[in-house]
């Protein structure tokens, strides 16, 4: 049922070589392709719009949910709404991601709106990878909007990765943290050629002792452009830390617009942002180990984006 192309896209966005174990929902060219639910995880179609509800029963541990989206039909504009309800005390991994193959002249676009509620004491790891390929003139465009609420004692670990082939992206992530909730966001972004990427992450630390950490690393090559708006709002006794680090190369442009705002005397917020080229000392060191200049550069970028 899966073509070679589908398989390649699935591998790139979800590390899947075969149909996954556990719960999954594979969406292809704007329609559901296959689905599996388990005793603890239910997936149902939304009735009012395109998309699915994913419901994880309280206490579900060590289960995974794969919900990859693949687009191989050029010119397709796909819009989807997904809702996740992660039950109390559960511990699950969700692997999302979108792979586009565009061999045509027209743009292919996938816009996804994901909302999550991570209930009391639950832990969710959410991995979202974006990948594009195909040498058609049409652009590959991905615009995810993600809204996450983490209830008391909940933990959300979010990994956002875009390494290859996405021409345009506007990524908007909003997180609301309640008492003692914890958030860790790891973002990795590589752009090249004329690609453009915008990432906006807003975290509201609403609850007492909530903590948030955002570690964003990016590499901008060629004529590509990147903009980061990372914002943390401390509205209670809380701790937040943003590290935004970019390597700029060639004629690329990178803007990082940091913002931290405190509405409480016990809010502790730190923002660190740095943009710079690869340190020449790093390249010289690796060359002195026998690597060529190009190999050294490649290794440094590979490590940085790992």
């Amino acid at each position: 049922m899966l073509s070679q192309l589908d398989k390649k896209l699935l591998e790139m966005v979800a590390d899947l070589h075969e149909i996954p174990q556990g719960a999954y929902n594979i969406r292809k060219n704007g329609a559901g392709l296959s689905r599996n639910t388990t005793g603890n995880i239910d997936i149902v179609n939304k009735t009012d719009k395109s998309g699915i509800d994913i419901i994880v029963k309280p206490g579900t541990v060590d289960e995974s949910i794969h919900i990859p989206v693949i687009l191989s039909q050029a010119g397709l504009q796909d819009l989807v709404y997904n809702s996740f309800d992660i039950g109390e005390g559960s511990d699950v991994v969700i692997v999302a991601g979108c792979g586009i193959h565009n061999g045509g002249k027209e743009n292919s676009q996938h816009d996804g709106l994901h909302d999550f509620i991570v209930r009391k004491g639950a832990k969710m790891r959410y991995v979202e990878k974006h990948y594009g390929e195909g040498d058609g003139k049409g652009k590959k465009i991905l615009n995810p909007k993600t809204i996450i609420t983490v209830e008391e004692d909940g933990v959300a670990e979010i990994e956002l990765v875009q390494i290859k082939g996405v021409d345009q992206t506007i990524r908007d992530t909003e997180v609301y943290l309640h008492d003692n909730a914890r958030l860790i966001v790891t973002e990795r972004l590589l752009t090249y050629a004329n690609q453009e990427a915008e990432s906006k992450i807003t975290v509201e630390l609403l609850g007492k002792d909530s903590t948030a950490q955002i570690i964003s690393r990016s590499v901008a090559q060629d004529q590509s452009k990147q903009i980061f708006y990372l914002n943390m709002l401390g509205k209670n006794q809380c701790r937040g830390h943003i590290q935004c680090d970019s390597i700029i190369m060639d004629q690329a442009v990178v803007r990082a617009v940091p913002e931290i705002s405190a509405y409480h005397t016990d809010a502790q917020l730190i923002h660190e942002a740095a943009i710079g080229k690869i340190a020449s000392e790093q390249i010289l060191k690796l060359m002195s180990l026998g690597l060529s200049e190009e190999e050294a550069e490649e290794k440094i970028l590979e490590g940085f984006l790992k």
């Binding site: 790093q282 060191k285 690796l286 060359m287 002195s288 026998g290 590979e302 490590g303 940085f304 984006l305």
Partner: protein
């Protein structure tokens, strides 16, 4: 083994040129141990960087085993089994110590082999192997990892730039033993830039560089007795020619 002929190095500063190395002539014989010392800013690290190809000399030539390597880049020199441990090693975000050492070995090594190497610089391997070579490492830890990257490589010429800097007494002792063993194995020509008497005493020959010039190259015992006498009388005779006033007296 390594010969440096009429070598000068200068940099442009504004519209004038500043001489950093002036007409250096040196001969390093195969498998001998050399220590280079001299005052801060004398040109020791610059000489090491010129030898490794990190900076290009303005004049003169460098010969390795009869081959003129002056025009070769860093990578080519590294492939001829030359290596340099930086005075101020760079940090790498996202590189694990294991990754950096595997690159140094030139192949993937198993955990035991990496551990053995780390022990040579006095690091307890299990704690370190998966740590990042980033700002989280202390200065001394980073310095020891840097030395390990050079020890990993089975070199014919190994240059260490102030390996003792920032290193604790116990690790320093371990390092001294490592250099001694390396010298005993007689497969590597060792050049260590140092301000430590204990390291100078390991060398077959000591070279004093000051003001961008070779002030002296002599057998260790000849030079060391003079330096120690200088330090004892508080006068600065050797310093006039070389300046190693900060060599620490042995206890």
């Amino acid at each position: 083994m390594l010969q440096i002929k009429d070598l000068s190095f200068s940099v442009e500063e504004g519209n004038r040129s500043v001489d950093i190395l002036k007409n250096i002539n040196l001969l390093f014989e195969a498998n001998k141990f050399y220590a280079i010392t001299g005052p801060n800013g004398g040109g020791k690290s610059s000489l090491a960087k010129v030898i490794m190809g990190i900076v290009k000399p303005t004049r003169g030539s460098i010969w390795l085993k009869g081959e003129d390597i002056t025009a070769l880049g860093i990578t080519e020199r590294a492939k001829r089994k030359m290596g340099y441990a930086f005075q101020q090693p760079p940090r790498f975000k996202g590189f694990k110590i294991r990754d950096l050492l595997n690159l140094s070995f030139g192949e993937e090594k198993n955990e035991d082999e990496i551990c053995d190497l780390l022990l040579e610089v006095g690091l307890c391997a299990q704690d370190y192997i998966n740590r990042d070579v980033d700002a989280s490492l202390s200065g001394g830890e980073l310095k020891r990892i840097e030395i390990a990257t050079v020890l990993a490589r089975n070199l014919t010429l190994a240059i260490f730039d102030e390996p003792e800097a920032g290193i604790d007494l116990w690790s320093f002792q371990k390092l001294v033993e490592t250099f001694q063993t390396m010298h005993k194995d007689k497969e590597t020509t060792i050049i260590i830039i140092s301000h430590q008497e204990k390291i100078l005493r390991l060398a077959d020959e000591v070279i004093i560089i000051a003001d961008g010039m070779v002030k002296e190259q002599a057998k260790r015992d000849d030079i060391m007795s003079r330096i120690v006498k200088d330090l004892e009388c508080g006068c600065n005779k050797t310093c006039d020619v070389g300046g190693v006033a900060y060599v620490e007296p042995t206890g």
